[in-house]
């Protein structure tokens, strides 16, 4: 299965990764060979097998609706690059809202 350099660039953009042309070329080859390897699985007949969403056959654990301790505003804001009056300050978002 071939992953083109264009596809790598598109994926990099979606994942907000900066790749130089060398990397694009390398990842295109590496991803292609990984997918080729996975492709061998397609030789098996899986029509009678339900999709594996999880490897551990467990059902969801539910918790009671109870309030627990949160981070304090101070603790939280100490982890962010910039803040003002309690809010996290980020470069202006222009496209939405």
């Amino acid at each position: 299965m071939k992953i083109s350099p264009q596809e790598v660039e598109r994926l990099a953009k979606l994942a907000w990764l900066k790749l130089d042309p060398e990397e694009v070329k390398r990842y295109s080859q590496e991803l292609s060979s990984i997918l080729d390897y996975v492709e061998t699985l397609n030789q098996l007949d899986t029509s009678q097998v339900s999709p594996t969403y999880h490897v551990v056959p467990q059902k969801s654990h539910l918790r009671k609706d109870e309030i627990g301790r949160s981070l304090s505003q101070e603790e939280f804001l100490s982890m962010v690059p910039a803040h003002e009056e309690g809010a996290v300050k980020v470069p202006k978002i222009i496209d939405i809202e």
Binding site: R10, K13, L14, W16, Y53, H54, V56, Q58, K59, S60, H61, L62, R63, K64, D65, E66, I67, G68, R69, S70, L71, S72, Q73, F76, L77, H83, E84, E85, G86, A87, V88, K89, V90, P91, K92, I93, D95, I96, E97
Partner: protein, 475 residues
């Protein structure tokens, strides 16, 4: 050419749980900025989400109430995109295996009703809230992780009125179930509109446009009306409709293109590895089903037959479940249904907002006792209004106020005769004019008698006695 409008709505409603959907942070609306955050909802390394049982129960209630098929197993997925209001870099949502599918909501229009099919209902987490300044944007993450249900309709709506009524009905169901505030202005109930036009009698859908950023019921109607016209003009001029997301600007009264790059829509969903499949047992569903309340339309019909209320009155009373309950509690305490209805719709709703009546200082006990005092003739309707004001101010029971202030109605004929005697002799000229044929002087005389008794005289008896007296002495 005539066009048919095709509308489908996506509604997001915040569920009123105490804690967030995957962590134990509080969901309160009025907290100070970034006060309700923790490693889980901020996506710090090593933290794991655990699903809130009540959030599931609430979503199930909505799904059962809208006649959906509940999926025995549903899957949470990661919806990947980068945006500052989403600290994890993905939103936990449901994608190919939603909680519920194929529901139906019945909306009531002028004289008909219409069934609107639901495509699906799924659960997801809310994102943070952005405020945009001159040079920076500011993010408050208290909202990140608040449980949401997303309710997606089929494209069954045909005009702005139907869309608005559908929204109103969804909101009513959510509020009757007591699982969401349904407040559009505060953002706990949000709506995206998908809208397209097609030539009448065509069976193919046209290119659809999505409208976002609509935060009131009225704006939804305005946005749809504007967009219908914009698309119609576009088609008339032979142009193509561009599939895009547009924003509604209420100030300008128009929608405008959001112009986003097309790959932004590639969310690369994959199953959330930190959450196991959600299994819903048949027992849980039937237990939920058994707790569903009587909904708005059914209640309205019952009020009309059981209490002989008009369609108009019943409709006003059932607009909030808490108000309808308040009405019935007052009736059960002995108030005449029609009288209770009138008092609630006039006096009570003049004092309190529809949603605040039930938790106001005026209890059904107060109102029922007041109305019983009128029914028994202990006080007049006019005095009752004064007593009502006093209940609000003092919080005392109506009978106590009546007793303490001596407001009982005077129905004793002998006592009233004396007052009538006095007024008739005092107002000799008027009496003369009345007898000469100016019958309108009668009500003035009654007014004088009421005044002399500080409004306590029983107006019906006064009328009778006065009429007798005037006519008797006329001969």
């Amino acid at each position: 050419m005539n066009y048919e409008t095709i509308i489908g709505l996506e509604v997001h409603a915040q569920l009123r749980t105490q804690s967030k959907i995957f962590c134990r942070c509080a969901t309160e609306f009025h907290a100070s900025e970034n006060q309700n955050v923790c490693p889980v909802c901020m996506g710090l390394p090593g933290s794991l989400p655990v699903l809130n049982e009540k959030a599931v129960a609430f979503a199930l209630k909505m799904a059962v109430a809208t006649h959906c098929q509940i999926q025995p197993t549903s899957i949470f997925s990661r919806k990947n995109y980068f945006y500052p209001d989403l600290p994890k870099g993905y939103q936990i949502s449901q994608y190919d295996k939603p909680l519920a599918t194929a529901g139906v909501v019945e909306i009531v229009l002028e004289n008909t009703s219409k069934k609107i099919r639901l495509h699906r209902i799924h659960m997801e987490e809310d994102a943070g809230k952005n405020v945009h300044g001159e040079r920076y944007s500011y993010v408050n993450y208290n909202r990140a992780g608040i449980p949401l249900v997303e309710i997606v309709s089929e494209p069954d709506l045909r005009n702005a009125q139907e869309a608005a009524e559908y929204l109103r009905t969804l909101r009513s169901i959510l509020r009757y179930l007591d699982i969401s505030d349904g407040n559009m202005e505060e953002g706990s109930f949000r709506c995206d509109v998908n809208i397209s036009l097609r030539p009448e009698r065509s069976d193919r859908f046209g290119t659809k446009v999505e409208i976002k950023n609509i935060n009131s019921f009225r704006f939804v109607e305005n946005a749809i009306l504007y967009e219908m016209e914009r698309q119609r003009m576009c088609l008339e001029e032979g142009k193509r409709i561009v599939q895009e997301t547009r924003l509604w600007d209420e100030h300008e009264g128009k929608t405008f293109s959001m112009r986003q790059k097309e790959e932004a829509h590639d969310y690369r969903y994959f199953p959330e590895p930190d959450l196991m499949p959600l299994e819903i047992s048949a027992e849980w569903v039937s237990q939920i089903r058994s707790t569903l309340p009587e909904f708005e339309q059914v209640k309205k019909q019952r009020f009309m037959t059981q209490y002989q209320l008009t369609n108009y009155d019943a409709k006003l009373l059932v607009q909030e479940k808490s108000l309808a309950d308040y009405f019935e509690q007052t009736v059960h305490r002995g108030g005449d249904p029609k009288l209770v209805c009138n008092w609630i719709l006039s006096e009570v709703l003049r004092e309190f907002e529809v949603s605040k009546v039930a938790c106001s200082s005026l209890t059904p006990g107060h109102l029922a006792e007041l109305i019983c005092l009128i029914q028994k003739g202990t006080i007049s309707g006019k005095i009752a209004k004064d007593v009502f004001e006093k209940i609000l101010k003092q919080g005392k029971m109506p009978s106590q106020i009546v007793r303490e202030e001596g407001l009982e109605q005077i129905s004793d004929a002998a006592q009233l005769e004396k007052v009538i005697e006095f007024v008739v002799s005092e107002q000799g000229d008027l009496v003369k004019q009345y007898r000469e044929g100016q019958k309108n002087k009668f009500s003035f005389l009654v007014g004088q008698i009421m005044k002399k008794t500080q409004g306590k005289a029983n107006p019906k008896i006064v009328s009778e006695l006065l009429k007798n007296k005037l006519e008797r002495e006329d001969t």
